[in-house]
């Protein structure tokens, strides 16, 4: 059963009608509805293509946050073998908003780290909706150090609304944890690849995405602030999120133009949630390509190039 987004309502109606027809036909074998149902299918498909070929930035935010979108654990399960989760920050706790550990990608041992949002009420609560506490970033630092020590590439899968804004998180140094994770990203002498699979929310995303290559799924977003947050501050009205999403230039396509996103990974028509396997396959292909690009680079060169990449982000801008 599909969860339709508000802008998909016309599509939901057509697909609903087609389904209804088929259900009636199943109940009454004399009915011949296939021509009519096929016409509805065709219409639905055309509408889907039409909707998704011109998604507004706000609609992209909705798609990026779609609850049925494949999440970190789906990518890890499908693209990696021998995934061996490693837990804890050796200090306070294990943060379930961040999953990570050793794994093999196409037989090559790697360290994989990512935000996990959860897929039902129970798992969403367990994973704190993908909003990490300091322990999550400190776990990531530890895993990056492990990767650096043993020469394993690091792959991060980013999908978070942001770092968790909570009392305990603040008391235990949320800012410092994020700052150290970003710092670690800039220090490790192994390839670091980051893929934004859904939401790249502010500092909570940067802490994992300060990478040699940053790729974004076609309908994912990456932003300094959520459109709702930006709207409530600058427009003094959280309902102006459409305008804010537009102004923030947070789409994968805009970020490619700004030099922040190195590669747009195409999604199946209608978004990753309509065909998770296709989305996962596309991510796998992009990952393989990016790892190959970095192969053979020395630790020194990797660090130097990575730092230069971010230092250069002081003079960018969209064409006038």
């Amino acid at each position: 059963m599909t969860n339709y987004l508000d802008f998909e309502r016309p599509l939901a109606e057509i697909e609903g009608k087609a389904e209804e027809l088929r259900a009636m036909a199943r109940a009454n074998e004399e009915m011949d509805i296939e021509t009519e149902a096929a016409a509805l299918d065709k219409k639905a498909r055309e509408l889907l293509v039409d909707l998704y070929s011109k998604l507004t930035p706000w609609r992209k935010c909705q798609v990026a946050r779609h609850p049925q979108r494949p999440h970190c654990r789906d990518y890890i399960a499908a693209l990696f073998t021998e995934y061996t989760p490693l837990a804890g920050d050796r200090n306070f706790a294990d943060d379930h908003a961040v999953m990570g550990g050793l794994a093999r990608f196409e037989d090559q041992p790697v360290v994989v780290i990512g935000h996990e949002k959860g897929h039902d009420t129970k798992s969403r609560i367990l994973h704190n909706f993908g909003m990490a506490r300091p322990e999550g970033y400190r776990k990531a630092v530890r895993l990056m150090e492990l990767a650096d020590k043993f020469g394993l590439p690091v792959i991060t899968l980013v999908d978070t609304a942001g770092a968790y804004p909570g009392k305990g998180a603040e008391e235990r140094g949320q800012s410092e944890a994020i700052a150290r994770s970003t710092e670690k990203c800039l220090q490790i002498g192994v390839p670091l690849i980051s893929i934004i699979i859904g939401e790249g929310g502010s500092g909570g995303a940067v802490a994992f995405a300060t990478a040699d290559r940053v790729a974004m799924l076609e309908h994912s977003i990456y932003s300094v602030i959520s459109p709702e947050g930006c709207a409530s501050i600058l427009w003094k009205d959280a309902e102006k999120m459409r305008e804010a999403a537009e102004a923030l230039r947070l789409t994968a396509q805009d970020l490619a133009e700004l030099g922040v996103n190195d590669r747009v990974i195409p999604e199946p028509m209608g978004g990753a949630h309509r065909d998770p396997q296709a989305a996962i396959k596309a991510v796998g292909a992009a990952l393989g390509g990016m790892l190959a690009e970095l192969e053979g680079k020395s630790a020194k060169k990797l660090i130097k190039d990575r730092r230069k990449k971010f230092l250069d982000l002081g003079s960018k801008g969209l064409a006038a």
Binding site: A163, P165, G166, K167, A169, E170, E171, R172, G173, Q174, S175, E176, I178, A179, R180, T182, E183, C185, L186, Q187, S202, G203, V206, A207, T210, Y222, S223, V224, I225, C230, I233, L234, W235, E243, A244, A247, L248, R249, L250, L255, L258, V260, R307, F310, L311, L313, G314, S315, K316, G317, L318, A320
Partner: protein
Amino acid sequence: MNWITNYVRPRINSIFSRRDTPENLWTKCDDCGTMLFHRELSENLNVCTSCGHHMAITPRNRFEALFDGGIFTEIDVPEPTTDPLHFRDQKRYPDRLKAAQRSTGEKEAMLVAEGEMGRTPIVAAAQDFSFMGGSMGMYVGNAIVAAAERAVRLKRPLILFSAAGGARMQEGILSLMQMPRTTVAVQMLKEANLPYIVVLTHPTTGGVTASYAMLGDVQIAEPNALICFAGPRVIEQTLGEKLPDGFQRAEYLLDHGMLDRVTPRTEMRDELITITRMLMGQPPAVAGDLPAPDPAPEAQPPEQPDKAAAPKTAPKTTPETPAK
């Protein structure tokens, strides 16, 4: 009380003659409500002489008090692309920038300078909260990179005074990218074995706290400064939970192990001299080896509206206090 007529009077006149309006002669402390004599307040670095409350101070005034004799040389900051996203909310971003430039008289939200502090050569950077909330965009990023590069070239410590509401939304992702970018700047200093000292001032929040402002070798905060990632209002809204007194304030962070020190602004300069000289392997600062400053009046509190309220934090009068 001869000095009042002989000394304070002409000062009042000189203030009148500079186009200050009479209302500006007195500032009400936003904490204790005491009326504070303008000149006295600015000589006490905008710290209330009655209750010790730290009010905002501009980067320029801070540098005048920090550097020997108030003398410093500004370091050029490369100009970034203005309005890289053609951002428009209810106002155009360039108009917001112009308004901030008019009201502060500064180009942007960070000032970078080099000079000597207690005869210790340093590079300093200070963020200006009054300029669009001190927000970190590409200019602030450029300023920090320029400061770090200059410090490395001159082999000097970098002292950074932070104050910001966070990243500059109008520069979108490019403001967010200043988090890793400024982290690279900090790494330049670390690899050159140069001290990077952060003084967190009120308020330091968001992406600024979560990058260069939390990566100092020594982390000092001004009293009662709000220092956080997510602001208290956001947390209260999210959790529907009342936060404890003093939550996210400097002293609270000190208690939770997030800071090295909380130091009053009036003692900050001496402390920075002591720390940087030790980290740089230099001999202790010699008090009194500087040109004699303007003497007597600094030691005496000028006329106060409420004479009964004795100052808790008297202005420091070391020989190194720069004459103004």
